[in-house]
């Protein structure tokens, strides 16, 4: 009975605030609108991973938090707007668009849009404390990979890569992931 009541309550609330929620809810409606909403959600997610990731102390002491964007797709287009004025772990968020051939070593988060050369850039920061984000389907994927399941944007986490990069990902985030590649020798 309580369960039914809860459901009714949620439905009522959802109906009430449907208008305001529509733009932010990670629920992707089918059809022509699907693509832009999916990328908007992904763009928002980029900086939202930050609180659940622990960087090595040397990086944590930096005054700013750098979110780097490489390549060009809908996510890199929407990201600056979505992350505008956001703070991460008490630091102002700086968004940098990387030029071709520019080093990504000083970034804390690096989003690499799908492209033929994406794998090369990822390799340069493979064992450096940079949280790399790509599409999960990419051949050479990053620590976090976006995927869409049942119209929901979800993500996979390669915890082994994170470990190599010296990053520690919160179990809260791991529990939310669609799939987790465990650290070698770790039973999950």
């Amino acid at each position: 009975m309580a369960h039914g009541a809860r459901r009714r309550w949620i439905d009522r609330l959802a109906a009430l605030s449907a208008g305001t929620l529509a733009a932010f809810m990670p629920v992707l409606s089918a059809g022509a609108d699907e693509a832009p909403l999916e990328y908007a959600v992904k763009a928002t997610y980029l900086y939202k991973f930050a609180p659940f990731v622990t960087w090595p102390p040397s990086i944590a002491q930096k005054a700013t938090f750098d979110l780097c964007l490489s390549g060009s797709d809908d996510v890199t287009k929407l990201a600056p707007e979505a992350a505008e004025g956001q703070a991460v772990n008490g630091k102002p968020l700086t968004i940098r668009r990387l030029a071709a051939g520019e080093s990504a070593d000083t970034c804390q988060i690096l989003y690499v849009a799908p492209s033929p050369t994406a794998g090369l850039l990822l390799d340069t920061v493979r064992n450096k404390p940079v949280l790399t984000i790509t599409e999960a389907a990419a051949t050479n994927h990053g620590i976090i990979g976006f995927t869409v399941i049942q119209h929901h944007v979800r993500f996979d986490i390669d915890n082994a890569l994170a470990k190599n990069a010296g990053l520690s990902i919160s179990s809260k985030l791991l529990s939310l992931a669609n799939a987790v590649t465990p650290v070698l020798g770790e039973v999950r």
Binding site: A5, P51, G90, L176
Partner: protein
Amino acid sequence: MTLAVHPHVPFRTMPWTALVGALVLLMAGVAMALYEEQLYQTQRVREAREEAEILAASETAALSFKDRKAAEEYVQSVEVNPEVEAVGVYTSDGTPLAGFARSGTAPLPSRLLAAARPRLENGRVVITTPVVQQATALGMVYLRARAEPMVNRVLREAVLALLVIMAMIVIAGLGSAQVRLQRQAAHLEDANRRLHSEMEERAKAEAALRQSQKMEAIGQLSGAIAHDFNNLLMIVKGNLHLLQRKLALPNDDRHIHAAMEGIRRAAALTQRILAFSRKQDLSPTRLQLSDLIVNMDDLIRNSLKEDVEIVRDLHAQSWVVLDRNQMENVLLNLVINARDAMPRGGKLFLTTEDIDVADDPDVPPGSYVRLIVRDTGVGMSEEVRAKALDPFFTTKPSGQGTGLGLSTTFGFISQSGGTMSIDSELGKGTAIAILLPAVAVDAALERT
């Protein structure tokens, strides 16, 4: 004796100490209940806050990525607790993501942006706590929990109240028991006092009886001796007269005179002994004691030294029947005793009054005339007072008193139907009271 009737008023049957004790206990009980309630509320708030904080910590990722399914799962883990009435998880823009409110309870707030202090309303704890991950605010958790089933709380307070009431009853019981004990003790004490006074009265009565029996015995014995002795004296006297005539001796013969004087003194002595034994020949006449005293004024004054002041207070009007000469002797005797008791002077009170005796164990009811001869002299000790009426008992130096003064007075008064009592205190003086039955005027006339 009637017992005091105590109306059943609690404040009278309970001593104030018990009342104060009960009051203090009641106040302590109330204070304890209040304190425990406060403690319980604080604890309940802390518990609810901990629960909310645990939920907030769990919901961070779900909130961050607006994963409603994950958020619901965490909320369900809280729903297991039956005391939690409602839980809401809100995103950073204040909109609800997940939550529930049990049926029959208030709905969740539709928006929640800022955390408020934990508060108690309508017996429910309401907690709002921010969801924070690494200094980044991600949203809010709202939790409402029942404070405690009312039955439990009432039961808890009832146990305390019961204890306090029981303690109060015990105190009240002890208090009233103490009052009862005190009252009983008072009754016992009273009864004991009465018993003691009755015992004293009885001892006095016994002593008086012994005294009168003793006087009676001595009186009979001495009376018989005095009577025979008097007869023997008469034989000696008669034969002495015959011898004087036979030898033709003159009346003023020295030896005859000395012998006759001895006989006279011996006869006087037997007269006094007879007076004590109430066997003397009396010639009673009707008289008024006040008159008698007034007529004896010169005689009394001459028997006293100048340093004794006479205070006369003569109120008696009634008649008595007495041997006037013997009564004059008695009065003189008492005055002389008073004088001897006041070697350094003082006051002599002579009082007469008419009194009616209704209930005196020693005297039958009726009208009496009382004569009191009181001095301010040396007084008597209790031992002396007890023996003062015994014949041949005297406190005067040997040769100065015969020890027959008061005893002949006693004998004469008794024979005249009166009573005599002595009241004395060392250093204060002595009062001799003589009670004589008053007679009606015609009865008095008949006798004369």
